[in-house]
C-alpha cells in the first residue's frame, strides 16, 4: 500500500495499521493473560531437558518403587503419587514421572501443531492466491480440489491413511519410529487443513484483484508474480493472521485426538493425547493421570482461542465481542 498523503503533519506521528493493532493488543487484558499462558507452555516445552536435570530423572525412567509393592500397579500416596520428587505424580504400572512426560508432551504437541499450521498456511495461501488471481479453469480445478478435501471425513480418513503413509515415508528412507510418525501426522493435518485458509484467501483475492492499485501496477507492466506476491499478498496478512491464530487450537486438538485414537505418536515418546489414552484403563482409580494432560490441553486450546479472538478484534476494530 502507498503511504498516506496526510501523514505529513508534524505533531502527529504516523502510525501504520500494524502498529495500531499491536497497541490495541497490548491494552487487551485477555490477550496479555492468554499470551502469557501460551508463552509459559512454550517455555516449558523448550526447557523440558532442564527439568530432567533438576528432577534427576527422565520421562522414560521407570520408578517402580513409587508403586504399590504388592501388585506393582497403582501409585503410592495421594493424588496419583504426588511428592517432592514427582510433582505431578507417577504413571500407574510403570512409575514414569508425569511432570516430565507433561513437559515433553508439550513439546510433541506444539511441534506437530505449529509445523502443521505453517505447512497448511503456506499451501493454503499459495493455492488460494493462484486460484483467486488466475480464475477460470485454474480456479475451477483448485476450488473443486478444496471441495473434495473438505468432503472427506477427516478424522476417519486420517486414521486410515496413517499406516499407509507411514510405510510410504519409510519407503523414502525415513527410519521406523516416532520421528516418521510425527512427520506423517504433520503432513496429514496440513493436507486436511489447507482448504480452510485457501478458501478465505481465494475470496479476498477475488475482491482485491479488481481494485485500482492492481490495475495501476498491471498498467505499469508488473509481472504476475509481482502482482500476486508484492501487490496482493501484503494486503492479506490480517485475515491470514486471524485464521492462523484461530486454527492453531484445531491442530492441537486434532493431533491429540489422532494420538488418543491410537493413530499418532506411540510410546515411549511423551504426548498429551498418548497420556490420555494410557490413562483410560485407570481413570476410575487414578483420576489425576487423566486430569493432567486433559487440563493442559484445555488450557492451551483456550489460551490460543482467546488470543485468536483478541488478534481478530485488534485487526478489525469494527468487530466487537
Amino acid at each position: 500500500m502507498s503511504q498516506p498523503a496526510y501523514a505529513a503533519a508534524q505533531s502527529v506521528t504516523g502510525r501504520s495499521p500494524s502498529r495500531m493493532a499491536w497497541e490495541r493488543i497490548k491494552k487487551d487484558r485477555t490477550a496479555k493473560v492468554s499470551g502469557s499462558v501460551i508463552l509459559i507452555f512454550i517455555a516449558l516445552a523448550i526447557l523440558a531437558p532442564i527439568f530432567t536435570w533438576i528432577i534427576h530423572s527422565s520421562p522414560d525412567a521407570f520408578h517402580t518403587e513409587t508403586l504399590n509393592q504388592e501388585f506393582g500397579t497403582q501409585p503410592l500416596g495421594k493424588l496419583g503419587g504426588v511428592s517432592g520428587a514427582h510433582w505431578f505424580g507417577v504413571e500407574p504400572r510403570t512409575g514414569r514421572d508425569i511432570f516430565l512426560r507433561f513437559v515433553f508432551g508439550a513439546r510433541t504437541s506444539l511441534i506437530i501443531a505449529l509445523s502443521a499450521t505453517v505447512l497448511a498456511t503456506i499451501l493454503g495461501v499459495v493455492i488460494g492466491l493462484v486460484s483467486g488471481f488466475f480464475g477460470g479453469k485454474t480456479d475451477l480445478v483448485l476450488s473443486r480440489t478444496m471441495e473434495i478435501v473438505l468432503s472427506f471425513p477427516s478424522i476417519l480418513f486420517a486414521l486410515a491413511v496413517m499406516p499407509v503413509l507411514e510405510s510410504v515415508f519409510q519407503g523414502w528412507g525415513l527410519p521406523q519410529g516416532n520421528g516418521t510418525r510425527i512427520t506423517v501426522m504433520i503432513f496429514i493435518l496440513a493436507m486436511f487443513g489447507w482448504p480452510y485458509i485457501g478458501r478465505i484467501v481465494r475470496g479476498q483475492v477475488i475482491s482485491l484483484r479488481e481494485r485500482e492499485f492492481i490495475e495501476a501496477a498491471r498498467a505499469l507492466g508488473a509481472s504476475r508474480t509481482h502482482l500476486i506476491f508484492r501487490e496482493i499478498l501484503p494486503n492479506l496478512w490480517a485475515p491470514i493472521l486471524v485464521t492462523v491464530a484461530l486454527n492453531i487450537p484445531t491442530y492441537i486438538t486434532a493431533e491429540a485426538a489422532l494420538t488418543f485414537l491410537g493413530a499418532g505418536v506411540i510410546d515411549p515418546t511423551s504426548d498429551w493425547g498418548a497420556m490420555l489414552l494410557a490413562s483410560v484403563p485407570f481413570y476410575s482409580v487414578d483420576p489425576m493421570f487423566t486430569f493432567i494432560p486433559g487440563f493442559a490441553l484445555f488450557m492451551l486450546v483456550l489460551s490460543f482461542s482467546l488470543l485468536g479472538d483478541s488478534i481478530r478484534d485488534a485487526l478489525d476494530p469494527r468487530s466487537s465481542r
Binding site: R144, E147, I148, S151, F152, P153, I155, L156, F157, L159, A160, V161, M162, P163, V164, S167, V168, G171, P249, T253, A256, A257, F260, L261, G262, A263, L276, S279, V280, Y283, S284, P287, T290, F291, P293, G294, F295, L297, F298, V301, L302, S305, L306
Partner: protein, 330 residues
C-alpha cells in the same frame, strides 16, 4: 430450484466418486497383501492364492475399482459360475476381512447406535445452545450473559475424550447414577437406551452447544440493530413477538448451516465419542477396522460418512434459500 438441485446432486456424486477412488486406491500403496490380511496369521500359501482369486484381488486396480463401483449400484457376484458362488446384493461394499460379513450389513447394524447418539445429542445441544444464546443476547452485559458466555468459551476448548472420562468417573464410578454407556435398542429397552446414552448425549451437547450459544448471541445482537426491527418496534409489536419472530428468525440462518454440517458429520460416525464411551456405532466400527487393517470395512465406512457430509452440504444450501429470502438459487 430443480435444476440447481440436480446440478448439486451430480457434482456431489462426482465428488463421492473421487473420494471413493482415492480411498480405494490408497490401500494399494500399502505393502501388506490384502489376501494375507484377510486370511489371518496361520495361513497356507494355497489359501492365499485362493482368497486372492475369490476376492478378485488378482485383477488390475482399475478393474477392481470398476467392479467395486458396479457392486454398489447393481451388486456383484464373486466366483461366478462355480458352485461356491457368492452373491453380494446392491449396495455391495465387499466383505470384512475379519468377520467375513458383508460390509453393508455391518454398516446397517451399527447405524442405529450412531444415529441415537447424533439425534439425542443434537436435540440437547440445540436446546441448550439456543436458549442460553437467546438469554445472553436479551440480557446483554448482565452477569447471566457473562456467565453463560464464559461457560461457552470454556466448553468450546474442552475435548470429548477428556470430559467423557471425567463425567464417566463422576456419574458411573463415584455416584453410580448411570450404568456404563453402551447401546440398547430404543424399541425394546427404551429406559436402558436413555440411561446408556445419557453420558454421550450430555458430553457432546455440552461441548457443541457452546458454538451455538455464541452464534445465537452474536447473530441476535447484530439483527437487533437492523432497521426492520426498529420498524417492528415502532409498529407497537410486543417485545416477545419482536425477539422471537423478527430477531431470532433473522439470526437463525447461520445456525442452521452449522447444525446441518455438524449433524451430517456426526451421523457418519461419532468416532471419538464412540471410542471414549465404547459404543458399537459406525465410528467404533471404523476405529476397530483401522486397528485390524480391515480394508473393505475402512473403505466402506469412509465412503458412507462422506455421503452424509455431502448430503448435509446440499441440504444446508437448500435450506439456506428457504430461510433467507435474500438468497436466490439460480
Amino acid at each position: 430450484m430443480f435444476s440447481y438441485l440436480l446440478r448439486r446432486l451430480v457434482s456431489g456424486t462426482v465428488v463421492l466418486g473421487i473420494v471413493s477412488a482415492i480411498v480405494f486406491g490408497i490401500f494399494f500403496i500399502l505393502p501388506a497383501d490384502p489376501a494375507r490380511l484377510s486370511c489371518g496369521k496361520t495361513c497356507s500359501e494355497e489359501l492365499i492364492v485362493k482368497i486372492r482369486h475369490t476376492l478378485e484381488l488378482d485383477q488390475t486396480l482399475p478393474v477392481q475399482y470398476g467392479r467395486f463401483i458396479k457392486g454398489i449400484f447393481v451388486g456383484r457376484t464373486y466366483l461366478k459360475g462355480t458352485p461356491a458362488e457368492l452373491n453380494c446384493t446392491a449396495p455391495c461394499l465387499g466383505y470384512s476381512f475379519q468377520t467375513d460379513q458383508p460390509v453393508t450389513a455391518l454398516l446397517k447394524d451399527r447405524l442405529p447406535a450412531t444415529a441415537s447418539i447424533a439425534f439425542g445429542a443434537s436435540i440437547l445441544w440445540l436446546l441448550i445452545g439456543l436458549s442460553s444464546g437467546i438469554v445472553s443476547a436479551l440480557r446483554r452485559g448482565t452477569w447471566i450473559d457473562k456467565f453463560s458466555q464464559g461457560v461457552a468459551l470454556g466448553a468450546a476448548s474442552l475435548q470429548i475424550y477428556f470430559v467423557g472420562l471425567v463425567l464417566q468417573f463422576i456419574f458411573v464410578n463415584k455416584l453410580a447414577w448411570l450404568p456404563a454407556p453402551g447401546y440398547s435398542s430404543p424399541l425394546h429397552y427404551p429406559v436402558d437406551w436413555v440411561k446408556q446414552m445419557a453420558l454421550p448425549w450430555i458430553t457432546l451437547a455440552f461441548l457443541l452447544s457452546a458454538i451455538y450459544s455464541r452464534l445465537t448471541r452474536a447473530g441476535m445482537i447484530e439483527i437487533m440493530g437492523e432497521d426492520y426491527v426498529r420498524t417492528a418496534r415502532a409498529k407497537g409489536l410486543s417485545n416477545r413477538t419482536i425477539n422471537m419472530k423478527h430477531v431470532l428468525r433473522g439470526a437463525i440462518t447461520p445456525i442452521v448451516t452449522v447444525f446441518g454440517l455438524d449433524l451430517g458429520g456426526l451421523l457418519g460416525g461419532a468416532v471419538i465419542t464412540e471410542y471414549v464411551f465404547n459404543i458399537p456405532g459406525l465410528g467404533k466400527l471404523s476405529t476397530d477396522a483401522v486397528a485390524n487393517l480391515d480394508l473393505p470395512v475402512i473403505t466402506g465406512t469412509v465412503i458412507f460418512s462422506a455421503v452424509f457430509i455431502i448430503v448435509a452440504n446440499i441440504l444446508v444450501d437448500l435450506l439456506y434459500a428457504v430461510l433467507d429470502p435474500k438468497v436466490r438459487i439460480q
